[in-house]
């Protein structure tokens, strides 16, 4: 049975919408039409449940699905439910045009009816996972991750580069913290690692998916190991680099020019013999990270307290701890904001010329030594490693995380996490926190079988040409080529539907969102609109169900008024919209089609915003060629923080 429940939202919506007319118009489309006062409250939900059988199809015309969806889903077992946001997207935003608003409600409800006809039950998966995690550690974050996982009772393999020992761990982590803290931390972790399997060697290759990755490891003495892991943590760490300016500072040409760290280890605990002057030249063109800044301040402070005269030539001083800067100055370090422009060597020492920006003049100083602070970057192997793992790197060579704001350790591939300096240079405490983050995520992957449920892309092998367009398009590695077939990996799928828009042959169809269903829905909207509104033009807004739809809801919450005549069709992701849907929208008679996606770079599925921009520009090119006005098709982004953008952009084209 197809049932429609309309909610008056505490009797307020029927002041805005003519429910009698709505009921009359949609009577033919649904088997049951009921108007309820407060559907989201106990009494409303009871009414809803009454006489409901599990295979009933339901349309709910009420507030935004995001509000009513939760209590409804927690209460009823039906899968085949669609929501029509009569409150946020109709009643509240078309206060001025009551009749048209009612008509819009009818159009949307007839669309919902068609949608229900095409709706399929979501597919459920359960996949077993391997309770074992691989940690690729180059430094202290890797050790921490392995130790915490071990304490959580998860089996761990710690893969370490050859020749790794405490000495080397200290050396590679020297910039993270002061040495004593580092040593204490290292010793504490090493103690808990006694029972952890440690493997010396390199990473070979990986196949499989989150929950069960097959990994080949190559040992230093030629042994090879193939193991299955539920999750992988990349903690390949950092390495120090010479800045570009080093050559100009005569590094490598003069024995008096050395790196700051080598100087520190050379002068270990020694007091200055006489007043020897050390000039520390920071690369003016490469801004410091806070970690590098703090390390610079700690090092120079230590040298100055031992009696050396330290002159630091720098640009912006960056540090997490203002007191370090204060201490460095207190200990007598001289800071010059500017740039070392020339270094000449003679028997007396190094004559360094400095452009002092704070005096607007040049200074010359004779230094006994010039020290160059090194930059911290990813280890050399990171790019290769990332390539083997199939994860992305950023343009500095660090491993990119999926969403820099909220997801600190997720790489672009599910089940693979990044910890510590491989993501970006970090102080000791940040690196530890980062390792804990990775442990938490890995633990969540391996602790229980993976169960997922949703509408998935279904692949028809008969129809498939194996053109691999879907593989290229899928942002989540959820489609793979196996034995000349395209195979769906549900563990990685985010149900975004981007693959569907890429397929030329229609070998992939998305459950409940098959092409015919879109077409039928557009036609239903167009015919109902024409029947009710006559020749008044109308438009489609193809909105992604994340930011764009939230923004449209937000416009409702904020009471932003806009004209009727635009119909929002929700897509799982704007990347699922292909030129076909857009053109179909125009063919059924829409004046405009607007594709609304998440903000640039902010797609919840990684690439949908960019892809939909491409699809729209491509469609516009086609329209221009065939003599249609390309302006009829637009792409735009909408975010919940900017409801007025939606208000501005939709009605203009309505």
């Amino acid at each position: 049975m197809k049932k429609l429940f309309l909610c008056t939202c505490n009797g307020t919506l029927n002041k805005l919408l003519d429910f009698t007319k709505i009921g009359k118009e949609v009577k033919a489309l649904y088997d049951v039409v009921e108007v309820v006062d407060n559907l989201c409250l106990e009494e409303g939900l009871t009414k809803l449940e009454k006489g409901l059988s599990e295979d009933d199809r339901l349309a709910i015309g009420a507030c935004s699905s995001q509000i009513i969806g939760v209590p409804m889903k927690q209460r009823i077992k039906n899968d085949l439910v669609t929501f029509v946001p009569l409150r946020e997207q109709v009643g509240w935003v078309h206060v001025e045009e009551k009749e048209s608003a009612t008509n819009k409600a009818i159009v949307l409800l007839s669309d919902a009816s068609v949608q229900l006809d095409h709706m399929e039950s979501p597919t459920e998966f359960t996949e077993s996972v391997v309770d074992r995690v691989l940690v690729m550690g180059g430094g202290i974050a890797g050790l921490k991750a392995a130790s915490d996982l071990h304490r959580l009772g998860v089996e761990v393999t710690l893969l370490e580069p050859s020749g790794q020992n405490n000495e080397r761990y200290l050396q590679t982590s020297v910039f993270m913290s002061d040495t004593d803290t580092l040593i204490n931390e290292l010793q504490a972790i090493q103690k808990t690692l006694k029972k952890v399997e440690r493997f010396e060697g390199t990473f070979g290759e990986v196949t499989g998916q989150t929950g069960s990755y097959d990994v080949t490891l190559n040992g230093v003495n030629g042994n090879e190991k193939i193991r299955e892991y539920g999750a992988i943590i990349v903690a390949s760490g950092n390495q120090q680099y010479l800045p570009r300016s080093a050559k100009k500072m005569r590094h490598g040409k003069s024995e008096r020019v050395v790196t700051l760290d080598s100087l520190m280890s050379r002068l270990k605990k020694k007091r200055a013999k006489e007043s020897s002057t050390i000039l520390v030249a920071v690369d003016f063109d490469a801004p410091m990270f806070s970690v590098e800044g703090s390390h610079l301040l700690r090092s120079t402070r230590n040298l100055a307290t031992r009696g050396y005269t330290i002159i630091v030539v720098h640009s912006d001083i960056r540090t997490e701890d203002e007191n370090l800067y204060r201490e460095a100055r207190d200990s007598g370090v001289i800071f010059i904001r500017g740039k070392v422009t020339r270094i000449r060597e003679n028997e007396k020492g190094l004559t360094c010329r400095i452009e002092n920006t704070l005096e607007s003049m040049e200074r010359e100083v004779i230094a006994d030594l010039v020290a160059i602070p090194q930059m911290v970057g990813p280890v050399n192997e990171t790019a290769l490693l990332a390539d083997k793992l199939g994860v992305d790197c950023d343009n500095n060579g660090f491993i990119r995380t999926r969403y820099s704001k909220m997801k600190p350790v997720q790489t672009s591939r599910r089940g693979i996490f990044v910890a510590g300096g491989a993501k970006m240079p970090m102080s000791l405490s940040d690196a530890m926190a980062s390792a804990q983050n990775a442990v938490l995520e890995a633990f969540k992957v391996v602790r229980s079988p993976l169960t997922r449920s949703g509408w998935i892309p279904v692949i028809d092998d008969e129809q498939c040409d194996v053109c691999k367009a879907c593989l290229e398009a899928c942002p989540n590695d959820a489609l793979r080529l196996m034995d000349d077939r395209i195979v769906h990996v549900p563990a990685h799928c985010e149900f975004c539907g981007i693959c569907v828009s890429a397929c030329p042959t229609r070998a992939i169809e998305f459950q409940s969102h098959r092409k015919e269903s879109w077409f039928a829905r557009f036609e239903a909207v167009a015919t109902t609109h024409r029947r009710l509104e006559g020749k008044k033009p109308f438009s489609f807004v193809f909105a992604c169900s994340e930011c764009a739809n939230a923004s449209i809801d937000q416009a409702g919450f904020a009471g932003k008024q806009y004209g009727t005549g635009s119909y929002v069709i929700q897509f799982p992701c704007a990347g699922m919209v292909s030129p076909i849907e857009i053109l179909k929208g125009l063919v059924v008679g829409a004046e405009h089609v607007i594709v609304a996606h998440c903000p640039p770079g902010g797609c919840h599925h990684q690439t949908g915003d960019h892809l939909s921009e491409l699809v729209v520009s491509f469609t516009r090119d086609m329209l221009r060629e065939i003599g249609q006005d390309p302006e009829r098709v637009q792409a735009t982004y909408m975010i919940a923080a900017m409801p007025e953008k939606m208000q501005k952009e939709v009605p203009v084209r309505g």
Binding site: R244, S275, P287, D316, F335, S360, E364
Partner: protein, 202 residues
């Protein structure tokens, strides 16, 4: 780890261009920073001189300074930078005598640098080479002769009497003169000639 062998070109942060273009270089030949930093170290050893170390050149002193508001060449921050870099030319700079010692800068200084005190120390250094207005020298000589910076006149004493103020008493001129003589200052004061010349009455 041999860092020289590392690939340095891969890891570049060429996305950032700090501003140096606006720096108009005033001096044609660079000024040397003395390797013993004598001037700076001397200042640091004087009372409250070590507060100099805290200076991070934020420039708040200059924007707070009432003199700088009128005379744009008077720049306390720049003076501090010169002291930090042990540039003794500051001690010979007549501008430092423009300071009113109003202590606006000291009150505002986010790092509690005793700026007026440091300027006073710089003035002291300048004394020897004659960077002193004649009036200041007169005051000093007046201490030597009377124990006071200001000459006390009869009418002044009368006025004080009228106002019921206590008697000034007699400063220990002899001891002062003796002490200054022992330090060699008395002799110096005799010989110092102000480079400002003139009668020195500002």
């Amino acid at each position: 780890m041999n860092i020289d062998s590392l690939n340095t070109s891969r890891f570049l942060r060429n996305d950032f261009k700090p501003r140096l273009a606006r720096c108009e270089l005033i001096a044609v030949t660079p000024t040397s920073i003395s390797s013993d930093l004598e001037f700076r170290n001397w200042i640091l050893k004087q009372p409250e001189g070590e507060t100099l170390l805290r200076c991070y050149q934020c420039g708040r002193c200059t924007s707070a300074c009432p003199i700088a508001e009128i005379d744009h060449s008077f720049n306390p921050r720049l003076f501090l930078e010169k002291v930090i870099l042990a540039d003794e030319s500051l001690a010979e700079n007549q501008l430092i005598w423009t300071c009113l010692t109003c202590e606006q800068c000291e009150v505002r200084c986010p790092e509690h640098v005793k700026i007026p005190q440091i300027l006073i120390l710089a003035k002291v250094r300048g004394l020897v080479s004659g960077n002193t207005p004649e009036t200041a020298l007169d005051r000093a000589r007046s201490i030597l002769s009377q124990g006071r910076t200001i000459q006390v006149s009869e009418p002044m004493l009368k006025t004080r009497d009228k106002m019921g103020l206590p008697s000034l008493g007699n400063p220990p001129v002899k001891q002062l003169a003796k002490a200054l003589k022992e330090l060699g200052l008395a002799e110096k004061l005799e010989n110092i000639k102000s480079i400002y010349g003139g009668d020195g009455d500002e």
